[in-house]
C-alpha cells in the first residue's frame, strides 16, 4: 500500500496488523478487515501471515539442510554442503562451548532456532511494501511479512523452550529437586516464600525475556523501516534521504537480525544447560 492513500498513522497501523482469520462476534468466520475486528476475535483466531511465512521459511530451511544431509558426502563437499557444514560446525562448537551435559536434542534445537529465526528476521530486509502491496492487490487486507515481529511467534518458541527447561529440570533433578531449587535457595528453608518469589521470577523471566528481546528488536527495526518508508511520500529530497536511510538501516539491520538469532540460540542453550545441572 502506498502512503498517498493513507495518513501516516493509518499507514503505520496498517503495517502493524497481522492478517487474522477467526470468528467474528456475529458468529461468521473470516478475515479481520480492521484492527478492531481482529481484536474482537479474541484468542480463537490465527494470524495467517505469521503462520504462512514462518512455516514457509522453516520448510525452506529444512528442505535445503535435509537435501545436504541426505547426500552428505565424506569426500570433497560441494558448495551448498560446504555452507551447511560451516553452519553446523558453528552451531556445534557453540553448543559444545556452553552446554556441558549430554543431550542429543540440544544441538539440532539450536540449529533450528538459529536458522529459522534468522530467516524470519531476514524478511525484514525486503522493501517494506513489496509483499504487502502484492497482497493488497490480491485482495488481502493485511500482510505482515516478518514473523518475528508477531509476539505469537516469539512466545511460541520461547514457551516451547520453557517447556523443555521444565521437562529437563524435573527429569534431571526429580520433581523434588526442582521444587527444592525453587524454594530452598537462596535463603534456606525458613525463607521459603521469599525464595519462591525470587526463583519464580527468575524462572518466568527466562521465556518472557527470550521472547520479548527478539520481538522488541525486530518490532523496533520494522518500525524504523516503516517510518523511513513514510518519507518516500514527502517529496524528492525526503525520498532521497529516505532511500539513503533505508539502505543504511538495512545494512545495520543485517547485524541485528543475525545477532538476535544468535542470542536466542545461545540463551536457549544456556537455559537448557542450567536445567541439566544441579545447583549445589
Amino acid at each position: 500500500m502506498s502512503a498517498e492513500a493513507h495518513t501516516s498513522t493509518e499507514y503505520i497501523k496498517h503495517h502493524l496488523q497481522n492478517l487474522t482469520y477467526g470468528q467474528h462476534p456475529d458468529g461468521t468466520w473470516g478475515l479481520a478487515h480492521s484492527v478492531q475486528e481482529a481484536k474482537d476475535m479474541g484468542f480463537m483466531a490465527i494470524n495467517l501471515d505469521t503462520m504462512g511465512f514462518s512455516i514457509g521459511l522453516g520448510v525452506l530451511f529444512l528442505f535445503f539442510f535435509h537435501k545436504v544431509a541426505k547426500s552428505a558426502a565424506v569426500g570433497v563437499p560441494n558448495g551448498l554442503q560446504n555452507f551447511v557444514e560451516w553452519i553446523v560446525e558453528f552451531i556445534d562448537s557453540s553448543v559444545k562451548g556452553s552446554f556441558t551435559a549430554r543431550n542429543p536434542m540440544v544441538a539440532p534445537l539450536a540449529l533450528t532456532i538459529f536458522i529459522w529465526v534468522f530467516l524470519m528476521n531476514l524478511m525484514d530486509l525486503l522493501p517494506i511494501d513489496w509483499i504487502p502491496g502484492l497482497a493488497s492487490a490480491l485482495g488481502l487486507p493485511y500482510m505482515k511479512v516478518v514473523a518475528t515481529t508477531d509476539p505469537n511467534a516469539t512466545f511460541g518458541m520461547s514457551l516451547t523452550v520453557f517447556a523443555l527447561v521444565i521437562y529437563y529440570s524435573i527429569k534431571m533433578k526429580g520433581a523434588g529437586g526442582f521444587l527444592g531449587e525453587l524454594t530452598l535457595q537462596p535463603f534456606g528453608k525458613w525463607g521459603m516464600p521469599a525464595n519462591l518469589l525470587l526463583e519464580g521470577v527468575n524462572l518466568i523471566a527466562k521465556p518472557v525475556s527470550l521472547a520479548l528481546r527478539l520481538f522488541g528488536n525486530m518490532y523496533a527495526g520494522e518500525m524504523i523501516f516503516i517510518l523511513i518508508a513514510i518519507m518516500f511520500s514527502g517529496g524528492a529530497v525526503l525520498a532521497l534521504t529516505g532511500g539513503v536511510l533505508q539502505w543504511a538501516w538495512a545494512v545495520f539491520h543485517i547485524l541485528i537480525i543475525t545477532l538476535q538469532a544468535f542470542i536466542f540460540m545461545t540463551l536457549t542453550i544456556v537455559y537448557l544447560d542450567m536445567a541439566h545441572q544441579e545447583h549445589h
Partner: protein, 156 residues
Amino acid sequence: MNINMTLIGQSITFAIFVWFCMKFVWPPIVSALEVRRKQIADGLAAADRGKHELELAAKRASETLHDAKLKASDIIAQAEKRAMQIVEEAKGTAKEEGDRLITSAKAEIEQESHRAREALRGEVAALVVAGAGKVLRREVNAQAHADLLEAIKNEL
C-alpha cells in the same frame, strides 16, 4: 498484535521443525563431518609415517653406501697386497730359474770343454805316437810299448 491461536500454532510448528531437524538433518551431517575429520587425520598420520619411513630408508641407504665403500677399499687394499705378493713371488721364481739356467749352462760348458780336451788329448797322443813311430819306426813296437804310450798320453 493480539495473542491468539497463532501462539499454539507456532509452538507446534517449532516443535515439529526441531523434531525433523533432530531426526533427519543433524545426525547425517555431523556423522559425515566426523568421518571426514577421521579420514583427514588418518591421511595426515599416514603422511607422517611415510615421511618417517623415508627418513629411515635414506639413513639406511647412506649406511649401506658407507659400508660398501669401506668394503670396496678393503678389497682394493687386499688386492694390492696380493698383487705385490705375486710380483715378489714371480721375482723369486725368476731369479731361481735364472740361477738354475746359469748353473746348468756352466755345467754344460765345463762338460764341453772337458770333452774337447779329451778329444784333443787323444788326437795329440795319436799324433805323438805317429810322430814317434815315424822317428823310431823299427825300434818302437806299438804293442810292446802300449803302456808307456798310455802313460804319456795321460800326461798331456
